[in-house]
């Protein structure tokens, strides 16, 4: 679908060096430009014909003739019928190779559309179900201390969980950044025989079962060292899950720093740590920031690591070092999964979900903003600073 609409843009990656796709085809046959992808009326009509035809047929069969139920089944059937329709309609007009080419393109585009649908579907669904709860200002300002299972939604909220989430992720980030960035610097700048096993373990740990991090902190800090369940313990568990993620992303960014910059620094006589500190890290700054923020976004939504070690409370707890401290994911876990007895609790859970999605989306937007620059590309402020220095010199 998109291939055809995309037209000239798709060809840019393949062969045509001239970007002027709109050049009118010359009448001289020898010089006329071959257009690889064409949007033809027949192609578009075939596509939409298959879409509509399949929809109509499946609706009649699924809803009226055959004993099928379920919305997901309907769309699955529609997709299957659509592919068959499209393939057979295309077969009437074009040769086999062309048909396969078109059908695969449509199938891949559909997968992309499905992924988009899932991402926005989950967030939108949370927003719709959480709307009843988040419209009450109490959701954002109160804890659940004075609200029971049957209290109306205008009493009590998730503010205590927001406090816990922000504090825990802040501490975890503080722990994770130095270790993760140092590991990344080790992998890309120092290297040696140790680098290979470390790289492999870091990559393997990015998909570590999230509950294992919680179990580890529980075994080491709570059962062995006698720490109580607290926000700090939760932060430690989050650190264990975040370090490999940030380290891996940072290493990829550091390897993008051009080697010539390092060599220039060495040629000026600077030592290795000077080069890393003054050349490599500043050059990769925006990428590193993106890596860190993405790691935070991943960490903030983790429920399993904090589940065992954070404890449960209905009240505000601003002190992460003592006493149980709840976070947003844990709030949802507790009031929907464990105690999901009343509609109010479930509505509150979805309200907390909206808050969580907002935090993740906020972090994500920040990451995209920071990550817009390629390595070495300067921000406006940096450029002004450079200009000032130049003027002074």
């Amino acid at each position: 679908m998109v291939t055809q609409k995309a037209g000239p843009a798709t060809t840019a990656g393949t062969t045509t060096p001239e970007g002027t796709a709109t050049a009118p085809a010359s009448t001289q046959a020898a010089e006329s430009r071959v257009r690889i992808v064409r949007i033809s009326l027949a192609g578009t009509a075939t596509l939409w014909g298959a879409v509509v035809g399949a929809l109509a047929l499946v609706w009649v069969l699924y809803e009226r003739v055959l004993p099928f139920t379920g919305a997901l089944g309907f769309w699955l059937c529609w997709y299957a019928v659509f592919l068959v329709f499209y393939a057979s309609m295309a077969r009437m007009q074009w040769d086999r190779r062309d048909v396969i080419n078109r059908v695969t393109a449509v199938a891949f585009a559909a997968a992309g559309a499905l992924v988009l649908l899932v991402v926005f579907g989950t967030d939108l669904y949370t927003a719709v179900r959480g709307a009843a709860s988040v419209v009450h200002p109490s959701t954002w300002t109160q804890s659940l201390a004075f609200a029971g299972p049957d209290s109306p939604l205008s009493v009590g909220g998730v503010a205590h969980a927001i406090v816990g989430t922000l504090e825990q992720i802040a501490i975890a980030t503080l722990f994770a950044i130095p270790l993760a960035v140092a590991t990344a610097v080790f992998l890309s700048e120092v290297g040696g025989a140790l680098a290979r096993p470390v790289r492999i373990i870091v990559e393997a740990m990015t998909a570590l079962p999230d509950i294992i991090a919680g179990l580890f902190v529980y075994a080491l800090f709570i059962l062995t060292l006698g720490m109580q369940k607290s926000g700090l313990a939760a932060s430690l568990a989050l650190t264990v899950t975040m370090v490999p993620i940030i380290a891996r992303a940072s290493e990829v960014v550091l390897r993008l720093v051009p080697g010539t910059l390092r060599e220039a620094s060495y040629a000026l006589g600077s030592s290795q740590w000077r080069t890393v500190w003054n050349v490599v890290l500043p050059t990769a700054r925006s990428g590193l920031a993106t890596a860190v923020v993405l790691g935070m976004a991943r960490g903030i939504g983790e429920t399993a690591p904090v589940l065992i070690v954070a404890g449960m409370t209905k009240e505000f707890n601003f002190n992460p070092t003592s006493g149980p401290q709840i976070s947003l994911p844990l709030f949802i876990w507790n009031y929907v999964h464990i105690e999901g007895v009343t509609p109010q609790y479930i509505a509150r859970g979805f309200g907390a979900g909206v808050a969580l999605v907002l935090v993740v989306l906020g972090l994500f937007t920040l990451a995209r903003k920071l990550g817009g620059a390629a390595p070495g590309e300067l921000t406006k402020r940096q450029r002004r600073q450079l200009a000032r220095q130049g003027a002074r010199a």
Binding site: V2, A9, G73, T183, A367
Partner: protein
């Protein structure tokens, strides 16, 4: 870092020997390398410590039941009849279903992003995949439990009615709608949402590194776009895709929250993935550890140890494959 040069040109006179280059490392550099190496070691140490503590804490359970831990299906702590013979394979079944769903979708999405999408859409989709990786699992769990589950029961019931002769789709109680709720299949479907971004982003990175020259050669020989992908991009990316899928499998094996929300626990292994009830090691840990006695905690640690060892092996093999497929090629940032 200067490295010793290779000997000079062969035609050089014999007395004109190449200068030996001394690479003296300064004091500061030595400390710098030491600290960075320590950071790398710390990550290894962390993994080692996780293993050590899981082993230490699970000793009680292993002493109580020994090897029967791997052959017992039930979970009766007080009578020493507990084991993971049902729990572990049920969890693996969920992960395999998740992978069966996520692999084609992830691969197709990766191909679409790398090969078909116009540049602006490509950037957007890459961001969306990153976002998908950052969607909290608990949000996916809510979505799966309240949105997907009621809407998929018709389909799973239909599958069981008409394809029930295939053992996987069999359901002993096909006429009771409740017998299709909370099944292994629905859990696998929900977990696949967590696996798709891993497979997509890693495969896409490999695909985008497929050599330009070979692509053009395929086109020059008259290939269609799909022909080019089949003969150039897919063979080039094969190792990367296999590694990405294995890493996705590791992620699926460890998924906790989605599984806990969707499943109703059972303690007997069954191939009937459409039938209500399932289990996994992560489910047991998340739902039992908070109100468990000392012995049950030890049993849960033992289960966690087995899970950790399994995922570590799967993930490490995956990481080795991915690293090998990446070697030589320059890394890409996104």
């Amino acid at each position: 870092m200067a490295v010793a040069l290779t000997p000079g040109p062969p035609s050089a006179p014999s007395d004109d020997r190449p200068r030996t280059i001394v690479n003296s490392v300064s004091h500061g550099d030595r400390i710098f390398r030491l600290v960075m190496r320590a950071a790398g070691l710390a990550v290894l140490l962390m993994t080692g410590l996780i293993l050590v503590f899981l082993v230490l804490r699970s000793l009680t359970a292993f002493r109580a039941v020994g090897f029967h831990f791997f052959t017992t299906s039930t979970w009766f702590i007080s009578t020493n009849q507990f084991g993971i013979a049902a729990i572990l394979p049920l969890g693996v079944l969920i992960a395999v279903i998740a992978l069966i769903i996520a692999f084609p979708v992830g691969l197709a999405t990766a191909l679409f992003i790398a090969e078909y999408a116009p540049p602006r859409l490509r950037r957007t989709l890459i961001a969306v995949i990153d976002l998908m990786a950052a969607i909290p699992s608990i949000i996916v769990a809510l979505f799966a439990l309240y949105f997907v589950m009621p809407r998929i029961l018709g389909t799973t019931a239909w599958l069981s009615h008409h394809l029930g002769f295939i053992p996987f789709f069999h359901n002993p109680l096909p006429n009771a709608p409740a017998s299709f709720v909370a099944s292994t299949f629905i859990a696998g479907l929900a977990v696949s949402v967590m696996v798709i971004p891993i497979i997509t982003s890693l495969s896409r990175q490999v695909f985008s590194q497929a050599p330009q020259g070979e692509r053009e050669a395929a086109y020059a020989l008259g290939s269609t776009k799909w022909g080019m992908i089949r003969t150039v991009v897919l063979p080039y990316g094969r190792a990367g895709v296999i590694g990405a899928s294995m890493l996705g499998l590791g992620r699926a094996l460890g998924e906790t929250i989605v599984v806990s929300f969707v499943l109703t626990p059972v303690y007997a292994f069954s191939w009937h993935v459409l039938q209500s009830g399932g289990n996994s090691v992560t489910y047991m840990i998340a739902n039992h550890v908070l109100d468990a006695g000392a012995k049950e905690i030890s049993a849960l640690f033992a289960a966690g140890l087995v899970l950790f060892a399994m995922t570590l092996v799967v993930n490490t093999i995956a990481a080795i494959i991915i690293n090998r497929s990446r070697s030589g090629a320059t890394a890409s940032a996104d």
